[in-house]
Amino acid sequence: MEPPERPARGAFAPWDEPAAQPLVVFDGVTKRFGAETAVSDLTLAVYEREFFALLGPSGCGKSTLMRMLAGFETPSAGRVLLAGQDLAGLPPHVRPVNMMFQSYALFPHMSVEKNIAFGLEMDGRPRDEVGARVAEALRMVKLEGLAGRRPHQLSGGQRQRVALARALVKRPKLLLLDEPLGALDRKLREETQFELMALQERLGLTFIIVTHDQDEAMTMATRIAVMDKGRLAQVGTPPVIYEAPATRHVAGFIGEINLVEGTVSGCDGRRVTVATAVGDLTVADAVDSVAVGQMVAVAWRPEKTRIVRGGEAISNGRAVISGTVHDIGYLGGRTTYHVDVSGLRLKAAVANAARSIERPLGTGEAVKLAVAPDALLLLVR
């Protein structure tokens, strides 16, 4: 399956070009803390100008991966390369990488201006240059008036922007962002997401962001690496991750999904029929090859489900599942139905395209769910 393209980023896809040189390479990297393995034999390449997201639940090893890149942790095995150079033995202060910390780690005894100037002063830049670049960074994050404030005199959003300016002012080859928006409230977080994207594109820098927030990763990233227990579950563009998840874990972690376990009953090239508790489901284009009798799962997204009254007819070719509505979640823009089908609870999301106050379906009503074969996913792992 070809990865669907992101309209905003156009043809930017260096990971598909065999000749492209990656900026960052994790080559068989393992990190153990005592008996615990945080990162396990992980190989990954990140390309220049990417906005790369490491996504996973807490404890999946994503922060460890970032800290190895910054130099705060040393791999137990494997290599970490930046622009072809092995970073082994390079202490954090000489690496051309800057990091924005989750806690922001602003120096409490320094003004905003001094915080931002710190990195440039460490490089021994002349005073005029430091002043000019700090002023520019302050403009960039829209904090011109607050140069003299101390961190504790700022709001959460302002602190976040100071941390960003401080990490960006040195124009690092690579900027690491550890849960950069975690401490912001929802509205500010969404605004900041788009600001970050615009900034990254304008400055032409490479960003690697660590997050546990799937919306954040989906919105901002060129590619997402979904991590699970120290391993990569899948690496791909947001549409690939969403529409073609490689494993049950990825499918369940990103967005909502209906997942039904079953046994392969028929196999005709990429057309696979699976016997499940909700009836036979035929997947149009299975990616993994399977054999009859194999235990697999069939999955589909709630919004790719049509829901109609029990009596209504459904056009041919779709899998049809009958059930009763258990409850209804009205969210304004869309409505989510929870439908009970032979002991399972399936979800269907319907966009409320027409303006209507009446509910088309009621709780307890008999309904049919219809899913097109090409909306069904076959998950082996």
Partner: protein, 300 residues
């Protein structure tokens, strides 16, 4: 009782305590410092009695004078004792800071499960009497003491070092005795410091040794101030250590006061010395209090 009255009563208690056990004794000492020495019981005049009546009190109040302060200021002995006390306190505090900071820093950096044990180790000496511990130093420092025996045994020196009964001995005693007062406030600030600040500094191109000067040291300033005042103020008035380790050569004001009071039975001069000592130390104490208050305010 209304809530307001209750609150006032509660606030009143510490003030009453202060008035009763600080202000009244201080007033008595201050009055004594204005009196004249006499061979009597108590050994000074005038003594105000209830029987005197207002007229008597007025007459006696006219006998009070600042003569004792004149004696102290005019006598090199007292001035030297004051200066020596301040000098020993300053040098001792400086040495304490230089020794105490690395200890506190190492403690704060130690693995978390070790820290309570290390704090315990710093406090442990308090379990023995202060006096006994200072006495023990005589055994170590005297000409035929442990230190000289060791150095002689190792062949590092030919004749015993004269450390006991010198200012060096006083400094050793002071540094030994006050080390916990320097280490504990330093440890408290260093332990509380956010470690990611150092990572951030390194990430921005700051080598670790420089991060110490730019980040750790400025952020531990409240601990440094607290530790220094906690040592400097009591060392200035120290009596036991100079008496036991300093011999007759080292004149500190606390010891002078003791001698005036108990050997010379000159209560008025001793009182004047005490009042002057307090006046000298009020400055640093107020700076310390303000620093503490500011830290409380900044404490988020």
């Amino acid at each position: 009782m209304s809530e307001r009255a209750t609150r006032r009563t509660i606030i009143l208690v510490p003030y009453l305590w202060l008035a009763l056990f600080f202000l009244v004794p201080f007033a008595i000492v201050a009055k004594m410092s204005l009196s004249q020495v006499a061979t009597a019981i108590p050994p000074y005049v005038p003594v105000f009695g209830l029987a005197d009546g207002p007229a008597g009190w007025f007459a006696k109040a006219r006998e009070l004078s600042l003569d004792n302060y004149g004696v102290i200021v005019g006598d090199r002995l007292y001035v030297d004792a004051f200066l020596a006390s301040l000098r020993i306190a300053a040098i001792g505090t400086a040495i304490l800071l230089v020794i105490g900071y690395p200890i506190a820093h190492a403690m704060a950096r130690a693995p978390e499960r070790w820290r309570p044990i290390l704090v315990m180790a710093v406090i442990l000496p308090f379990w023995t009497s202060f006096l006994i511990r200072v006495y023990a130093w005589i055994g170590i420092l005297k000409p035929e003491g442990l230190l000289n025996e060791l150095l002689l045994g190792l062949g590092l020196i030919g004749t015993p070092l004269q450390i006991a009964n010198t200012e060096t001995a006083v400094l050793i005693g002071v540094v030994y005795s006050y080390l916990p007062f320097m280490v504990l406030p330093l440890y408290a600030t260093l332990e509380r410091m956010d470690r990611t600040l150092l990572e951030a500094a390194q990430d921005l191109g700051c080598p670790p040794w420089k991060a110490f000067w730019r980040i750790t040291l400025p952020l531990s300033l409240p601990g440094i101030v607290a530790g220094c005042f906690l040592c400097f103020i009591p060392i200035t008035g120290e009596v036991v250590i100079p008496d036991l380790l300093g011999g007759s050569d080292t004149l500190m004001i606390g010891k002078t006061l003791w001698t005036e009071f108990f050997s010379n039975r000159d209560w008025p001069v001793a009182s004047a010395v005490a009042v002057l000592l307090l006046v000298i130390l009020v400055g640093p104490i107020m700076v310390y209090q303000r620093q503490q208050a500011r830290q409380m305010e900044a404490g988020r």
